[in-house]
C-alpha cells in the first residue's frame, strides 16, 4: 500500500502496530482471474424519479477485502451500499453475493450486516441486547447468544458496558457497540456507512485502526462508504472513487494516489498541482508539454494512447517537488518562482510559490536537519524542480 497515507497533505500519522503487521501486503485477489468475487454489482442502475443516483455500475469485490466507496455527498455511494443491504431496489441490473442473485431478497434475508452512520442502536435495549439482537432473530439458544455477545464485547473492549443503555455511552463507545452488533452474526460481508463520521478527529484516527484490526482478525469482507479520502486511504485494500453515480477509478490507495486517472481523482485524493498544457512531441515514452508561450517545456512520462497536440494536465504532488534557493544542476523541469506563503508544521514545511505567469504551486520539504543553511522564507526567489517520472499526465 506504498505509504500513501503519510504522503497526503497533512502531517504524517503515527504508525500503528496493526498497520505494520499489514497482512494484506501481497493480497490482491482482484488480479487473480481464478478467484470469484463475493459481491458483484452487475450493470446496476438506480433512479429516484428523474434523478439518476447510480448509473450502470459494475463492480466486483473479493472476500476479505476492505473496500471503500469514496466520493462527495450525493455521488451515489450510499445508494450503492443500501442496494446491497436491501433497503433500496435497483431500477435495473443485478446484485450477486457469492454467486447468488440477491436482488429480490428482503433485507432480513440477506447475508450482510450493516453498521449505520447514525449507529441506529436500539435505545430501549442494553448494549448486550443490542449486540444479541441479530442472534435472537435467528433463534439461537440463549446461552449461545450470551457466549457470542461476550466474545464480541471482549473483541471491542465493551466488557464493562453490557448492562448500559446506548444513551449512557460516549460517542466512541456507541460506535463500537454498532460495530459489535454488525459483526455479531459473523456475516460474510459487513457494510459500514460513514461509520466514523460522528467522531472527532483524534478518535476517528484511532477508530480507523481499530476497524482494520477487527476486519483482519475476523477475516470478514468490509465495504465502507466514506467521503473522507484519508479514511479511505488508511483502511482500504481498494477504493472506488465515485462521482455523479459513476465509478471514476477503482484501484488500490497507492495507485489512486500515485496514478490518478483524472483531474477529479487527483484533486479528490490529497493535494495536487495542475498545469494545463499541450503535448507537442513524444519520444522515448516521454512527452514534451508546452504550457504557455515563453515557458520552459515540461517533460513527463507519456500516458498510454497519448497523441501529439492533445490538451493535457500535468498533475504534480507537492512532496514530489524539490524546492531550493540555488538553481539545480539538472535543468529539466525546472522553474523559478517567488515564495508567497510558508507553513511550518514541525516535521515538514509547505510553501506556496508564485510562478512568473502568476500560477501558484504548492511544494513540501521535510525538515530533516535541524539547522539548514538558511530556511526558505517569504519573498525568497526559489527554484522548483522535479524528475520527469514523478509527474502524471492526465487527459481528462
Amino acid at each position: 500500500m506504498s505509504g500513501a497515507t503519510v504522503q497526503s497533505a497533512t502531517p504524517a500519522q503515527p504508525k500503528s502496530p496493526l498497520r505494520t503487521a499489514a497482512p494484506q501486503s501481497g493480497f490482491a485477489p482482484w488480479k487473480d482471474p481464478s478467484k470469484a468475487p463475493i459481491v458483484r454489482f452487475e450493470n446496476v442502475v438506480k433512479r429516484f424519479g428523474d434523478f439518476v443516483a447510480v448509473k450502470d455500475c459494475t463492480l466486483d469485490i473479493y472476500e476479505r477485502e476492505f473496500f471503500a466507496l469514496l466520493g462527495p455527498s450525493g455521488c451515489g455511494k450510499t445508494t450503492l451500499l443500501r442496494m446491497l443491504a436491501g433497503f433500496e431496489k435497483p431500477t435495473s441490473g443485478r446484485i450477486l453475493v457469492a454467486g447468488q442473485d440477491i436482488t429480490e431478497l428482503a433485507p432480513y434475508e440477506r447475508p450482510v450486516n450493516m453498521m449505520f452512520q447514525s449507529y441506529a442502536l436500539f435505545p430501549h435495549m442494553t448494549v448486550e441486547q443490542n449486540i444479541g439482537f441479530g442472534l435472537r432473530q435467528d433463534g439461537m439458544p440463549k446461552d449461545q447468544i450470551a457466549t457470542r455477545v461476550d466474545e464480541v464485547m471482549a473483541l471491542l473492549e465493551l466488557g464493562r458496558f453490557g448492562k448500559r443503555k446506548p444513551h449512557q455511552l460516549s460517542g466512541g463507545q456507541q460506535q463500537r457497540v454498532a460495530l459489535a452488533r454488525a459483526i455479531a452474526k459473523k456475516p460474510r460481508i459487513v457494510l459500514l456507512d460513514e461509520p466514523l463520521g460522528a467522531l472527532d478527529k483524534r478518535l476517528r484516527q484511532t477508530a480507523q485502526f481499530e476497524l482494520m484490526g477487527i476486519q483482519e482478525r475476523t477475516g470478514t469482507t468490509f465495504i465502507i462508504v466514506t467521503h473522507d479520502q484519508e479514511e479511505a486511504m488508511t483502511v482500504s485494500s481498494r477504493i472506488a472513487v465515485m462521482d455523479h453515480g459513476e465509478f471514476v477509478q477503482i484501484a488500490t490507495p497507492g495507485d489512486i494516489y500515485e496514478a490518478p486517472n483524472s483531474r477529479y481523482v487527483a484533486n479528490f485524493i490529497g493535494d495536487v498541482n495542475l498545469f494545463e498544457g499541450k503535448v507537442v512531441s513524444i519520444s522515448g515514452g516521454f512527452a514534451e508539454i508546452d504550457w504557455g508561450p515563453g515557458l520552459a517545456r515540461f517533460k513527463s512520462v507519456a500516458p498510454e494512447g497519448c497523441t501529439g497536440d492533445q490538451q493535457v494536465w500535468l498533475a504534480l504532488r507537492p512532496e514530489k517537488i524539490h524546492i531550493d534557493l540555488d538553481k539545480p544542476t539538472d535543468t529539466s523541469n525546472t522553474i523559478p518562482g517567488k515564495v508567497v506563503d510558508v507553513g511550518y508544521l514541525g516535521s515538514i514545511s509547505h510553501y506556496h510559490v508564485e510562478l512568473a505567469n502568476g500560477q501558484r504551486v504548492k511544494a513540501l520539504r521535510t525538515n530533516s536537519s535541524r539547522t539548514v543553511d538558511r530556511p526558505i522564507s517569504w519573498e525568497d526567489k526559489v527554484w522548483l524542480q522535479w524528475p520527469a517520472e514523478t509527474g502524471i499526465v492526465l487527459t481528462r
Binding site: Y108, M114, F116, A120, F133, Q137, K185
Partner: protein, 292 residues
C-alpha cells in the same frame, strides 16, 4: 431574577388555578348543607377561626362510602373509562402509525385533519352522533339499504353509544401523542432491525412498539382521566342505566343542592385519579431522563 421568575410562573399557576380551588372544594366537603347563601355552613370568618374549624368534619365522606350508589358509580365510571381507553388506543394506533409513515410533506396536513374536529363545538359533534346512531339514523339506514340488517339496531341510548362517543371524542388526544412518539423513531432503527434479520411484523413488536410506549401511556392517560369524569357524552348518547360518577356529581350538586356532599364526591374522584396521574408523572420524568 429571571430564572426565579421562570420557575415561579408554573408554580404560581398551579397554586392559583389548582391548589387554591382544590382547597376551597375540600373545605366545602367538610361543611354541612344549609339553606342559605352560600348553601353550606360554616363559612369562613376571620374573627372566629377556631369556631370555623371546630365545625368541619368528615361526615360527608362516611356518607358516600356507606351508600353503594357512589362506589358503584366510581367503579362504573372507571370501567367505562378503562374500556374506552383500550378501544381508543386500538383505533388510534394504526392511524398514528400511518401518519408517522406518510411522506414528510403530508404530515402537517394529516395532523391538521386530526385536530380539525376541534373547530366544531364538541356538543354539536356529539349531537351529530345521535343523528347517526338513532333508530332511523344514518347508520341504520345505510346498513338496511345494504341489506346487512332487516331490523334497525338499537345503539342509541346504550353503553355502546357511550363507547362510540367517548372513543370518537377523545381519539385526537390519543393519536397526537402516539404520532409524536412514532414520528420521533429513527427510521434507521427499523432498517437496522431488518438488516439483523427481523421481518417487518417482528420489528414492529421488537422496536416500534416498545419505543412508542411513552406515547401510548401519554395517550391513555389523556383519555382515561377525562373519560372517568365524563358527563356530557353518557348523558346525550347513553341510556339511563349508564351511571357514571359525573352524573352522580351532577345529581348531588343540582338535584340535591348538596354542595358539601358533591364536593366530597369530587375530592374522592380526584383521589381516585391521582394514582394514574402520579404514575403518568413518573413515566414522564423517566422519559425526560432517558431523552437526555
Amino acid at each position: 431574577m429571571r430564572r426565579w421568575f421562570v420557575i415561579l410562573v408554573p408554580y404560581l399557576w398551579l397554586l392559583v388555578f389548582f391548589l387554591i380551588p382544590f382547597f376551597i372544594v375540600f373545605k366545602i366537603s367538610l361543611s354541612d348543607i344549609a339553606t342559605a347563601i352560600p348553601p353550606y355552613t360554616p363559612t369562613f370568618s376571620i374573627t372566629d377561626i377556631g369556631g370555623f374549624f371546630s365545625q368541619l368534619d368528615f361526615e360527608n365522606y362516611t356518607f358516600i362510602f356507606q351508600d353503594s350508589l357512589y362506589i358503584g358509580a366510581y367503579f362504573s365510571a372507571l370501567k367505562i373509562a378503562f374500556f374506552s381507553t383500550i378501544l381508543t388506543l386500538l383505533i388510534a394506533y394504526p392511524i398514528a402509525y400511518g401518519m408517522a409513515r406518510a411522506p414528510r410533506e403530508w404530515q402537517p396536513t394529516l395532523v391538521m385533519l386530526v385536530i380539525l374536529p376541534f373547530w366544531t363545538s364538541f356538543l354539536i359533534r356529539v349531537y351529530a352522533w345521535i343523528g347517526i346512531l338513532k333508530k332511523e339514523g344514518l347508520l341504520n339506514l345505510f346498513l338496511m339499504n345494504l341489506g346487512l340488517i332487516s331490523e334497525p339496531l338499537t345503539i342509541m341510548n346504550t353503553n355502546t353509544a357511550v363507547y362510540i362517543g367517548i372513543v370518537y371524542s377523545y381519539l385526537p388526544f390519543m393519536i397526537l401523542p402516539l404520532y409524536a412518539s412514532l414520528e420521533k423513531i429513527n427510521p434507521a432503527l427499523l432498517e437496522a432491525a431488518a438488516d439483523l434479520g427481523s421481518p417487518p411484523w417482528k420489528s414492529f413488536w421488537q422496536v416500534t412498539f416498545p419505543l412508542s410506549i411513552p406515547g401510548v401511556l401519554a395517550g391513555c392517560f389523556l383519555v382515561f382521566i377525562p373519560a372517568t369524569g365524563e358527563f356530557v357524552i353518557p348523558d346525550l348518547l347513553g341510556g339511563s342505566e349508564t351511571l357514571m360518577i359525573g352524573k352522580t356529581l351532577w345529581n348531588e350538586f343540582f338535584n340535591n343542592r348538596d354542595w358539601p356532599v358533591s364536593s366530597a364526591v369530587a375530592v374522592v374522584l380526584l383521589l381516585v385519579l391521582v394514582v394514574p396521574i402520579v404514575l403518568f408523572q413518573r413515566n414522564q420524568e423517566k422519559q425526560r431522563e432517558a431523552g437526555r
